[in-house]
């Protein structure tokens, strides 16, 4: 069964802005799915509609087979949401925010307390449970929203830019936590501006542009579809070495080269050719993020 099934979804806001222009999207149960797009592309509108915070103009949307027009409350029961903006009362204690959210989903207080302890410990927030939300740092607030979204054990978790403004160490910790969550069966629907995050976490991604899905495929296939990928090579020295035929090579400095690897070329071939021409290759790394290259190509209609 699909965790999410959207057919011809449109949304026109009262201002006349057409945020969604007939979106079709399916997310398999158990998937880690990424929705990528520029600001204003329609990502948050899709999450808003799926979580009933935004009214759709037309189209059909289902969550685990529950039609949002007919079985909204059944669908809601399966969903947890971490919004882009902080949306909790800053005057309430961390534990109260989480336990109350459980209550809204029918989780008894005693059960919610136990679950809150488990989740807050996993997210390294248990020591802050009696602090009011306003005293938390930005990263802690993000984790609080994740904890709150999980208190009723949702089968589908919407994450709208969950790591925005979070430091690198914390972000990696959150990735690990989300990966575990997904491995344990929770379907995750992620929007993010960090393309490395999508490449790291997601199995499937869709790219939305001006309210329309322009690509929808597995991350593997999308990366494979890149015409070329650029790599940075660190070599012992490039002085006095012959040019390497068949590759576009740009010299950055004596020890650093930028090389384009086309779709029909392999990394083994690249290393071999450089070796044959007398280079000692010390390190190879991708220039930027591969998904980012694809994303930019699509947005710029390349």
């Amino acid at each position: 069964m699909d965790a999410l099934n959207i057919q011809n979804l449109t949304k026109t806001y009262a201002t006349g802005t057409r945020a969604l222009k007939g979106v079709d999207l399916r997310v398999k149960s158990g998937d880690f799915f990424g929705l990528l797009g520029a600001n204003g592309a329609g990502k948050t509108t899709i999450i808003g509609i799926m979580t009933s915070l935004v009214k759709k103009t037309s189209g059909k949307a289902e969550i685990f087979g529950y039609d949002l027009d007919k079985d909204l409350n059944k669908a809601k029961k399966e969903v947890g949401v971490v919004p882009q903006e902080f949306n909790f009362s800053i005057w309430e204690k961390v534990i109260d925010i989480i336990v109350a959210q459980g209550g809204y989903f029918g989780v008894p207080r005693s059960v919610a307390m136990d679950r809150a302890e488990e989740i807050l410990n996993a997210l390294d927030l248990w020591s802050k449970k009696d602090q009011t939300a306003r005293t938390l740092s930005g990263g802690m607030k993000r984790r609080l929203m994740i904890a709150r979204a999980l208190i009723h054990h949702p089968k589908l978790l919407f994450l709208d830019e969950p790591t925005a403004g979070v430091d690198v160490e914390l972000r990696h910790g959150m990735w690990k936590y989300l990966n575990n969550l997904n491995a344990n069966g929770t379907t995750i629907f992620l929007t993010t501006h960090y393309l490395e995050e999508a490449e790291e976490l997601c199995r499937d991604v869709a790219i939305i542009k001006e309210g329309e899905i322009v690509r929808n495929d597995s991350v593997k296939n999308l990366i494979r579809s890149l015409e070329k990928q650029t790599y940075i090579l660190t070599v012992e020295t490039s002085k006095g070495r012959k040019p390497v035929k068949g590759f576009d090579v740009r010299v950055i400095d004596d020890a650093t080269l930028e090389v384009d690897l086309h779709k029909d070329q392999t990394m083994s071939l690249l290393i071999h050719e450089f070796h044959e021409n007398g280079y000692v290759v010390l390190d190879v790394r991708p220039k930027g993020n591969r998904l980012e290259q694809l994303f930019l190509n699509i947005l710029q209609n390349k």
């Binding site: 806001y13 009933s52 919004p83 902080f86 949306n87 009362s89 959210q101 209550g103 029918g106």
Partner: protein, 257 residues
């Protein structure tokens, strides 16, 4: 949601509301108590001593039900409008909107929070009145019915105000320009039988009159309006406002784009 889950959701909202107004008791419980005490001192003890009795009731005792009701009205209305608008402003109302809690349960939770604060403040004001006059209760059931229905009506009014409010100014407009004048002209300080005929007729369009008058009947057994009629009026207001609140929430007015 089954009945058990629905009960948990309702209890969660109510508990949260009570914890909220108790946490800030100096803003929620104290001011109305101080206000009403001043009324007791100035209108009751000082000016009241120079006013003849009304319907055979000493003036000080006559204004007690009205002042209690004033406190109930203001507290229940303010509780819901400020809490609901605050939740909208901070966006934490979304915690409820994304949950499977039915709209009528959301309304019931907020309303009972307002009723709890209204009744608590009313009880404190009534206790304070004992310092100025000997409190009597003619019919406790009538007192309880009127105080409960009035708190429900004004909590619903506060909720609807909160639904439409888009800025903090909107929260105070209705209490300042509508609620306060209606309360003062609702027979808190006088019997409508003492008004000229035109004013008597106009006053009968004021819903607060029926609340104050019926409530006063519960204390003294005398009223200007037929009590049964007042109960019907209150029940009608409750029904109409509850229906409007469910409709607005269902439609997502002021909450969903």
């Amino acid at each position: 949601m089954n009945a058990h889950d629905t009960w948990i959701a309702f209890y969660t909202i109510l508990r949260k509301e009570i914890v909220r107004f108790m946490r800030i008791w100096s803003q929620t419980l104290l001011p109305p108590v101080i206000n009403q005490s001043l009324y007791f001192i100035i209108f009751g003890a000082y000016i009241g001593s120079q006013v003849k009795s009304i319907n055979g009731i000493p003036y000080m005792a006559f204004i007690v039900p009205g002042l209690v009701m004033m406190a109930v009205i203001t507290s229940s209305f303010t509780n819901v409008v400020s809490s609901f608008f605050g939740s909208k402003f901070q966006k934490n109302i979304e915690e409820l909107l994304v949950s499977p809690t039915p709209n009528y349960v959301i309304i019931a939770g907020y309303i009972m929070g307002g009723v709890a604060r209204g009744i608590l403040v009313g009880a404190i004001v009534f206790a304070i009145s004992a310092l100025f006059t000997h409190p009597v209760i003619y019919n406790g059931w009538i007192v309880a019915l009127f105080v409960f229905l009035t708190a429900v009506v004004f909590s619903l009014g506060g909720l609807i105000n909160g639904i439409f409010a888009t800025k903090f100014d909107d929260v105070s407009i209705f209490p300042t320009f509508v609620l306060t004048p209606l309360t003062y002209f609702g027979g808190v300080f006088y019997s409508i039988n003492d008004l000229p005929p035109l004013w008597q007729t106009l006053t009968k369009f004021n819903p607060i009159l029926y609340m104050v008058d019926g409530f006063r009947y519960g204390f003294f057994g005398v009223s200007d309006i037929n009590v049964s009629f007042s109960i019907v009026m209150l029940a009608a207001f409750t029904f109409i406002l509850a229906f409007a609140a469910v409709y607005l929430l269902q439609k997502g007015t002021g909450l969903k784009s």
